[in-house]
């Protein structure tokens, strides 16, 4: 056995080695690790905000009801209470922002109703379905049914 740390010089060298290693680590860390990395986990915090940066396309039914309260109340009273406005009228966030910027469309009832109500064997048993060719070969569904509160008339 020798005397590895008999000399002060050796201790200083080790200390310098340690300090140098730490400095290199700090430098690499500053250069390589992106900002905000590791605050919540193995990712950048800024990515959370990046995911939030997208304009709305669907306004949501509560935004519709702010102006169209009559239609919203009628809708809530009937069998279509669960159906959102934009499920039939299309995405209308720009309209909700500025009614002049985007016009809501009145959908063609014959096509829009059948998206849901055309018979299909995979649809649940309790759901109201028709084979439209038998049920009403011609005309608009709205001739007989009120789309906002489709109780039998």
């Amino acid at each position: 056995m020798g005397r590895p740390f008999g000399d002060r010089e050796h201790l200083v060298r080790v200390a310098l080695l340690f300090a140098g290693g730490f400095a290199v680590f700090l430098l690499l860390r500053a250069l390589l690790v992106p900002e905000g990395f590791g605050v919540y986990g193995h990712f950048r915090v800024a990515a959370l905000d990046a995911n939030r940066q997208r304009p709305l396309v669907y306004a949501g039914r509560s935004a519709c009801a702010e102006c169209h309260s009559e239609e919203a109340d009628l809708l809530r009273s009937g069998k279509h209470a669960r159906v959102g406005c934009e499920a039939c009228h299309g995405a209308l966030a720009r309209h909700a922002e500025d009614p002049a910027a985007q016009k809501a469309v009145r959908p063609d009832s014959r096509s829009v109703c059948l998206v849901c109500h055309e018979a299909n064997r995979a649809k649940p048993a309790g759901f109201p379905k028709v084979v439209v060719a038998d049920h009403a070969p011609q005309g608009s569904c709205a001739d007989c049914h009120r789309p906002h509160a489709p109780t039998p008339q």
Binding site: G38, V39, F43, G84, A87, A122
Partner: protein, 254 residues
């Protein structure tokens, strides 16, 4: 002399370990407070989704709404959410016939005969927002991650487009966006739910088959639903910690 050198090197080696420990400690010190997000506290939510298979009518509203809201490529093979139709000859859970024409974007034209003794139903699919997500584990650069609010998100600025996560997802929920060559997936309409809105698919679903829920909000109706229904997640044997809870899920669904 030689022995002295050897011991010196050994000791240096030990001290190098200490350097690593000091580095870790310093890292811990540096991890300060997260950036303040106005009105939305990322640690106060834990998002999940209920999917009631017995209410799905296969109308495709969710698929169309999702593509529009999130600017998903319109080619018929890119989806953040899609709907599958299952067709089971009687009792044969092992061999369901599954189809999903354009992911259900254009609905499902009837193609099965009446009275053939089969069982038919729709199953909506989307990212399961796993709490222990396989896709996160394989990402080599930390570009896909589990957010503290329970959503699995993608950092598009750091995604390499290496496709590991696309292969790792057991539910097939990821794709490479051909415009950016980075990965894309359902982020549970993160831009909407952080503003207090529901997702586009839930907004457009006419039957309430899909419902967004916040498991950290004690007043959220999701708690009542989970208590009173027999729910299941997809591929529970994979222990992904999926938070897409299916009600009325058939055993044949993969």
């Amino acid at each position: 002399m030689n022995e002295g050198r050897r011991e010196f090197l050994q000791m240096s080696g030990h001290l190098l370990w200490l350097t690593g420990a000091a580095a870790l400690a310093y890292d811990y010190v540096l991890a300060g407070e997260p950036e303040a997000a106005p009105n939305y506290k990322v640690t106060e939510h834990w998002w999940a989704m209920i999917i009631d298979v017995e209410k799905c009518i296969g109308c495709g509203n969710c698929v169309r709404a999702c593509k529009e809201e999130n600017d998903v490529p319109r080619e018929p093979f890119y989806f953040r959410t899609w709907v599958e139709r299952y067709h089971l000859p009687e009792g044969d859970l092992e061999h369901p016939v599954v189809d999903s024409p354009n992911g259900g974007y254009d609905g499902f034209p009837e193609k099965y005969r009446e009275g053939d003794g089969s069982k038919n139903f729709f199953v909506p699919k989307l990212c399961n927002q796993c709490a222990h997500s396989p896709c996160v584990q394989v990402c080599p650069v930390g570009a896909t991650f589990e957010s503290p609010d329970g959503t699995v998100l993608v950092d598009k600025d750091y995604c390499l487009g290496c496709r590991y996560c696309v292969q790792a997802c057991p539910y097939g929920c990821r794709f490479i966006d051909p415009r950016t060559n980075t990965v894309d997936k359902c982020n549970l309409c993160y831009h909407r739910i952080t503003k207090g809105l529901t997702t586009a698919c839930c907004e457009a679903c006419p039957t309430g088959s899909r419902q967004l829920g916040d498991l950290k909000n004690p007043k959220d109706p999701i708690h009542e639903f989970l208590r009173t229904h027999k729910v299941q997640v997809l591929k529970p044997h994979m222990a992904t910690g999926s938070k897409a809870y299916y009600n009325g899920l058939d055993g044949s669904v993969r």
